[in-house]
């Protein structure tokens, strides 16, 4: 599990370019599911069939991560870029960019009178090219990059980029591995383009047409110095979503998650996220509506290269999902 989280974290997969993550997940999920396919938007869908009387339940975790996209290459070979998803220019200072083919660059910025004036359009990526021609041989306009960062496992804590939401992908995979006794037809959906507007989950949910949905993603915590108040802490268990900016968790799904956690003694905490959304926001509005909830892995420093999660929380999320999928869902 730890090694899988590390591998997933280090994979290249900005929104719109999730192929490497998709290939990894298809490999891992093939022996665990009855059917695995990739849909029009690139989402990987793994189906595990249940008994005759079960429901159709869609679990979703997104494969994509935030990143940047090249918009211009100048005469000297410097690359200008725009953001893919919510990325702050300040988190890019001193970081390295990684492209799909492994090309590495450095984030630089123009001379500024005040660092507060730093904006993405004042920044560039330097891949060490001496000219436009040399740069274009490696990187073209429209190519995307992510932050290049090793994933570290330190005791119970994992630190790396793209924990949002590769840790959710790992939770889904582990849940599939653990799930032997579910009456339900469970769709493990690894979605695309969440970071740019919950897009892949929407089209996947349309095609699958599930009875219920659960999104698995990371959530913010309120447990760091002078943090914005929020009753979620690292290490205190799976977070059961009540609401975020994209969804109000369906009470039936939320209550079932809570009662299952209580019955099985799984550590959990309630999550009320003031800003930000998850795939649940798309899933619950598909067709005539899908009762949808979400289970979140608490994560510090979201959308930075140092996203930190707790392995105990990850296990609690797997326990909770595996547990709830054995319930009858009436």
């Amino acid at each position: 599990m730890q090694e899988m989280i590390k591998s997933l974290s280090e994979l290249y997969g900005p929104a719109g370019r999730e192929e490497a993550v998709a290939a990894y997940i298809r490999d891992v999920m093939s022996p665990l599911a009855d059917e695995v396919y990739t849909d029009t938007m690139g989402s990987v869908v793994a189906v595990k069939r249940g008994s005759a009387n079960g429901k159709k339940i869609m679990l979703a975790a997104h494969m994509d991560e935030i990143g940047v996209m090249i918009t211009d290459i100048d005469e000297q070979g410097f690359l200008r870029f725009s953001n893919i998803g919510g990325i702050s220019p300040f988190t890019l200072i001193g970081q390295r960019a990684e492209f799909a083919d492994g090309t590495i660059g450095v984030f630089g910025f123009e001379k500024l009178d005040d660092i507060k004036d730093l904006k993405l359009n004042k920044m560039y990526i330097d891949i060490g090219a001496g000219s436009r021609e040399e740069a274009i041989a490696k990187v073209n306009i429209g190519d995307s990059a992510v932050i290049h960062k090793e994933c570290i496992i330190q005791g119970q804590r994992v630190i790396g980029k793209a924990m949002d939401d590769r840790v959710g992908c790992a939770v889904l995979i582990e849940t599939a591995r653990r799930l032997n006794n579910s009456p339900h037809e469970v769709y493990f959906v690894f979605t695309t383009q969440e970071e740019v507007g919950l897009r892949g989950a929407r089209t996947a949910a349309y095609s699958i047409d599930p009875d219920y949905g659960i999104a698995v993603d990371v959530t913010l915590t309120g447990d760091t110095p002078e943090a914005h108040r929020m009753a979620v802490s690292l290490g205190k268990g799976a977070a059961v979503k009540v609401k975020d900016a994209s969804v109000i968790a369906h009470p039936m799904v939320k209550d079932l998650l809570v009662s299952t956690a209580k019955a099985k003694g799984i550590p959990y905490q309630m999550e009320v996220l003031e800003r930000g959304g998850t795939d649940a926001g798309s899933i619950h509005l598909i067709r005539s509506g899908v009762p949808t909830g979400a289970v979140s892995v608490p994560c510090r420093y979201i959308h930075t290269p140092g996203e930190m999660v707790d392995l105990g929380d990850v296990t609690a999320c797997v326990d909770l999902l595996a547990g709830v999928l054995e319930e009858p869902w009436e």
């Binding site: 929104a15 996209m69 100048d74 359009n121 429209g142 383009q193 507007g197």
Partner: protein
């Protein structure tokens, strides 16, 4: 020129009738069958010789404009923008009000009467009004009842062999490209969607894609060109005269990579210069189309236009012609 008529037709979002009627007349001349859906989108169908793949080409009929929202006792009209309009471009512009094209001008307090600080800030919406010369409220209300759409009174002009100027090139150039596409037969089936209400939230395109149900789609836009003084080269979204612009990403969609790749290949094979749309801001109908049903692969091809969303935009006929060639080349390779 068809583009001239399309440009001068009135089509503020939600009131696209003039543009729709013009397009329907053209479709009838071409002998192409079409339907108008509940929202007012026009869907024109060209069955393929082989008919395997269905490609949807989309362009929106509507333009940004103004709407009458109040009438003063004096007969002056209060208005609000429909779509994204920079109010600094409005002062003293001539306009046409309503389906009868009542001429008017956007008035404001003249410089003689402005306080010093008023000269330094752009006029607010509530400080602008439309003067149609009505003598009182009753006369004005007869000519321009609440909800009446207002367009800029801009005549289409050819500025040089290649450069044209007119209003609403966003997205009448796209409409003109679609009408060109329909003149040819292809192996694949083609559905041309002339959509409504793009400028107020990409509203027509989703339902159009839902009923057209294509295998893939191309969105043809008149997009912003910023090859003008004061913008560094890396900030030029697109440049006029350098050929059709392919979208790499915008606020509402990331195009399907295989389609962009194919367009690039067609351009290479047919010797058509292309550029990339460097800006990743703004949105197009692609945003709604690609998320329809189980997902539809979409790419965007744009004609660069300077000064869009203003009374007069400037575009290159060569860019439009190359856009037609590029999309036709794409369609000829589908089956």
């Amino acid at each position: 020129m068809l583009l001239a008529r399309l440009s001068e037709a009135a089509g503020v979002s939600g009131q696209e009738d003039e543009v729709r009627n013009l397009i329907k007349a053209e479709l009838e001349k071409l002998g192409v069958s079409y339907k108008t859906d509940a929202l007012g989108n026009v869907l024109a169908y060209k069955p393929g010789r082989k008919g395997g793949t269905t490609v949807m080409a989309a362009a929106h009929m509507d333009e940004v404009g103004l709407m009458v929202v109040g009438v003063e006792d004096s007969g002056l009209l209060r208005f609000k923008p429909v779509g994204g309009i920079d109010r600094r471009v409005l002062v003293a512009k001539q306009v046409l009000v309503g389906p009868d094209r009542v001429p008017g001008v956007i008035g404001s307090k003249p410089i003689h009467l402005q306080k010093r600080n008023e000269r330094n800030t752009p006029l607010q919406w509530q400080e602008l009004y439309i003067d149609i010369g009505a003598k009182d409220k009753a006369e004005a209300e007869k000519l321009a009842p609440l909800g009446t759409a207002v367009i800029f009174a801009t005549s289409f002009k050819q500025l040089s062999d290649d450069i044209v100027m007119g209003k609403a090139f966003d997205d009448r150039v796209g409409c003109s490209v679609l009408l060109e596409l329909l003149k040819e037969d292809y192996d694949c089936s083609l559905v041309c969607a002339f959509t409504v209400q793009e400028e107020v939230g990409l509203r027509g395109a989703g339902p159009a894609a839902y009923s057209a149900d294509p295998d893939l789609a191309l969105v043809i836009e008149g997009t912003t060109a910023s090859d003008v003084p004061g913008v560094p080269e890396h900030g030029h979204a697109t440049s006029v005269g350098k050929g059709p612009a392919l979208t790499i990403m915008d606020r509402t969609s990331i195009p399907a990579r295989p389609l962009v790749e194919k367009l690039r290949q067609v351009a290479l094979e047919e010797n058509i210069p292309i550029q990339y749309r460097r800006a990743t801001t703004g949105g197009t109908d692609a945003g709604k189309i690609h998320l329809t049903k189980g997902g539809i692969p979409v790419a965007g091809v744009s004609v660069p236009c300077r000064y869009i969303h203003s009374p007069a935009s400037v575009a290159s006929l060569g860019d439009i012609e190359k856009t037609v060639r590029l999309v036709k080349g794409f369609l000829r390779r589908e089956c």
